[in-house]
């Protein structure tokens, strides 16, 4: 897992834009085995009925069916360059859609930890460009007994991420949100 990521928008791969609304872009990343991987960034176009301005950003290698595999783990030669390219794509989208928010899923602990470390290690840089939020999900407690939770009754609570904030892996945010400053 890449943790020592240095975001620097002067060091990014060339983004090939695939649509006028800046929602799809593709770039080639060099892998440690000498191959390259064609990575796609997709900013969701579907509007959530109750959060129409929050859009999910997905990333991963694109196959011949134009499908992003966001589960796969790749060993990039330059993780910093990969993340800087993603940040540039996100910034470009948000700069053109100033009322919108971009979200990234910390779908598992290792991914959430990688995103969180990346945010913390680059906090001063990123904080000049974005407001950065972490979101936690809380379950409704019914009774103090086994199974005493209502998994359908969840509260999503955003928080502005602070520089140097220390969280144990188990308590990492479920979701990360960015909007332009």
């Amino acid at each position: 897992m890449a943790l020592n990521i240095k975001v620097n928008l002067d060091n990014h791969y060339e983004l090939q834009l695939a649509d006028g609304d800046l929602r799809y872009s593709i770039f080639e990343s060099a892998l440690t085995n000498g191959n390259t991987s064609r990575l796609g960034i997709k900013i969701s176009s579907e509007q959530h009925p109750y959060m129409p301005n929050v859009h999910n950003l997905a990333l991963g290698p694109v196959n011949e069916k134009n499908e992003i595999d966001d589960y796969i783990k790749l060993t990039h030669q330059d993780h910093s360059k990969v993340f800087s390219t993603i940040v540039l794509a996100g910034f470009t989208f948000l700069n053109n859609h100033k009322d919108k928010y971009l979200g990234i899923d910390g779908s598992d602990t290792s991914r959430a930890y990688m995103y969180y470390r990346c945010i913390q290690n680059n906090f001063e840089y990123l904080n000049t460009l974005f407001n950065i939020f972490g979101v936690n999900y809380y379950l409704r407690v019914l009774r103090d007994e086994p199974g005493g939770f209502d998994r359908q009754d969840v509260l999503a609570m955003p928080k502005l991420i602070q520089k140097g904030e220390i969280l144990p892996p188990v308590k990492l945010y479920n979701y990360f949100i960015f909007n332009i400053k």
């Binding site: 002067d10 006028g20 959530h48 109750y50 134009n66 470009t92 000049t128 609570m157 979701y175 909007n179």
Partner: protein, 57 residues
């Protein structure tokens, strides 16, 4: 620094405008709905969440 990034973002946006609407669709293997999208299931939840988010800006 921000000025330089803004210039680059604006140049990319200009380039993108010339491309127009994509004539293909990219899908995401894990699905199109984020975990947050799955958690917010009512209008009240959505309004509360957006209110909290805006208050923090």
């Amino acid at each position: 620094m921000k000025e330089k990034i803004l210039k680059e973002a604006e140049a990319l946006a200009k380039k993108a405008k010339a491309i127009g609407k994509a004539d293909f669709k990219i899908t995401v293997k894990s699905g199109e709905t984020s975990s947050l999208g799955k958690v917010i299931t009512t209008k009240e939840q959505g309004e509360f969440f957006m209110k909290m988010l805006k208050a923090l800006e």
